[in-house]
């Protein structure tokens, strides 16, 4: 039996230090700490995320899904007038396991009223800088920002519109990335592979990079903005080197569009052979009542802890990771 923790005492202390620093930061910036349910009757419809599901024997075997993010209930709080809120919680995602992934991990999620994604990026940088002061980092904490379009262009030399799957295949081959995709795979999957294997590895090491304004097809829960002929999603991601740390949105607050996106994703799940899951009708009802203009972000605390402690495997920071949980 492997009963011992995977994280050593220093790493357990580091997590406690991180959590304290995060709470101090939000105490000082007037955001309310909230708790929302871990189990929900609805699931995420995101075709790339698989929820854990549990059956309730005392309720006719009805399903409950473990949260993959606290986003929906937190938005319901916002719609009910909570004001700025934050939450530290454990989220669960099936099949995500590796050097940077554990199927359950700790997320910090927060929302700011009247912020757009750029103002929230300012705050993410401020929070990360503040929290990291509690640790002895050898590298200075520096941030830069680049749009998704320009990040792709910088590495490939191409505008987004010029890239079809054949072009991407060509670029991947030039970077000696073996490609498991075919012409039948959605173009976004090709972009995902390009991002993970070529673009993100080109980001400056020991440096924070924000990527913002994603293609509309990768909007997730962000609102769209049309400028001239191109429409972008007001979404951002934060990377440290090539390690992805956070994902944020200028939040979509159109109930009808949200319901359309849920239904579209449900359709994609069926086409791709994933489990059919119910979407959150409560969120749609809340959006109908009105979500104040806001931006929100989810930041992986285990990943932040990796760079704060200079650890290259997430398992070393988790008391009992999946292989001994």
């Amino acid at each position: 039996m492997n009963w011992r923790p995977a994280a050593n005492q220093d790493h357990l202390l580091a997590r406690a230090t991180l959590l304290r620093a995060v709470r101090e930061y939000f105490d000082g910036t007037q955001a309310l700490e909230v708790v929302t349910p871990t189990l929900s009757a609805a699931a995420t419809t995101d075709p790339a995320i698989e929820s854990f599901v549990t059956h309730c024997s005392d309720r006719n075997n009805s399903c409950r899904y473990l949260q993959t993010s606290p986003e929906f209930p937190m938005k319901r709080l916002l719609c009910a007038g909570s004001g700025d809120i934050y939450q530290i919680c454990t989220v669960f995602r099936q099949g995500e396991s590796g050097r940077h992934h554990n199927p359950e991990f700790q997320l910090l999620e927060w929302y700011r009223l009247e912020f757009d994604h750029h103002r929230l990026m300012d705050e993410v940088a401020e929070l990360v800088s503040t929290v990291l002061q509690a640790f002895e980092m050898s590298a200075p904490v520096e941030f830069s920002r680049i749009s998704y379009r320009n990040a792709i262009k910088q590495v490939t030399g191409f505008e987004l519109e010029q890239l079809d799957y054949q072009q991407i295949e060509h670029i991947l081959a030039r970077h000696t990335v073996d490609c498991p995709l075919s012409a039948n795979d959605p173009l976004d999957h090709w972009f995902d592979l390009l991002m993970s294997t070529v673009v993100a590895p080109s980001f400056a090491h020991n440096h924070f990079t924000f990527i913002y304004d994603y293609p509309a097809s990768q909007a997730a829960l962000a609102r769209l903005r049309t400028e001239g002929e191109s429409t972008v999603a007001e979404r951002f991601e934060l990377y440290y080197g090539e390690l992805e740390l956070a994902n944020g949105f200028h939040e979509l607050n159109d109930a009808a569009e949200q319901a359309d996106r849920f239904r579209h994703e449900q359709q994609l799940r069926i086409e791709r052979g994933h489990a059919k899951v119910p979407f959150d009708q409560n969120l749609i009802a809340a959006l109908q009542a009105g979500l104040p203009d806001c931006a929100g972000v989810a930041l992986g605390l285990d990943r932040l802890l990796m760079l704060a402690t200079g650890t290259d495997n997430i398992y070393q920071l988790i008391s009992f990771p999946d292989d001994r949980a």
């Binding site: 073996d178 498991p180 976004d188 972009f191 995902d192 592979l193 991002m195 990768q218």
Partner: protein, 188 residues
């Protein structure tokens, strides 16, 4: 036919790729933000020993290779084949040059080796990590010289050549680490 999902990938797992058995050396799960996940692996072709990179879509299934590691006793060589015996069933198997490779330098009769079987045929022969062998030829020893750290080549009964300390004599038995081919100690 048995298969593995990429979720089950871990180093050491044996899978079939392009008709050859491969072992996963390294597996890295990558997932950009909210998008499609991939498994980036390095796999070793068990027939050729070549290591290549291979990327899979997360959730994809890959055929399992019917590869099994067994412990067998080395019996003898007839010059073309090396013969091994399963110590429990007494069943005998002959492994050819391709499977034995450089391991033949470290095969001593009656030593227990690891024989990797693919569809029941020997694929790789791995000698024990440490073997004891007799030196058949080396320059005369320098008595008392146990400190200078110099070495000289010594020829083993199997044809292997190992660097040994200067004080070692012809006819002595020494312990060798077969993974590095290095001298470990004298066996008294």
């Amino acid at each position: 036919m048995a298969s593995y999902s990429t979720n089950e990938f871990k180093s050491g797992l044996k899978i079939m790729l392009d008709g050859d058995p491969h072992a996963i050396v390294e597996n890295e799960f990558v997932k950009p933000g909210k998008g499609q996940a991939f498994s980036r692996t390095r796999v070793r072709n068990l027939k050729t020993g070549r290591v290549v990179e291979k990327t899979f879509k997360s959730g994809e299934s890959v055929e399992a290779a019917d590869v099994m590691d067994t412990s067998m006793q080395y019996l003898y060589t007839d010059g073309e084949f090396w013969h091994f015996m399963d110590p429990t069933t007494f069943e005998q198997l002959a492994a050819g040059k391709e499977a034995v490779g450089d391991a033949h330098f470290w095969l001593k009769e009656q030593d227990d080796c690891e024989v990797t079987l693919w569809n029941g045929e020997p694929l790789i022969v791995t000698p024990p990590n440490f073997v004891e062998m007799k030196i058949t030829e080396t320059d005369p020893g320098l008595r008392g010289d146990t400190a200078t750290g110099g070495t000289k080549p010594a020829h083993m009964e199997t044809g292997a050549v190992v660097k040994v300390p200067l004080f070692i004599e012809e006819g002595e038995v020494i312990k060798i680490d077969t993974r590095s081919g290095e001298y470990v100690s004298r066996v008294k």
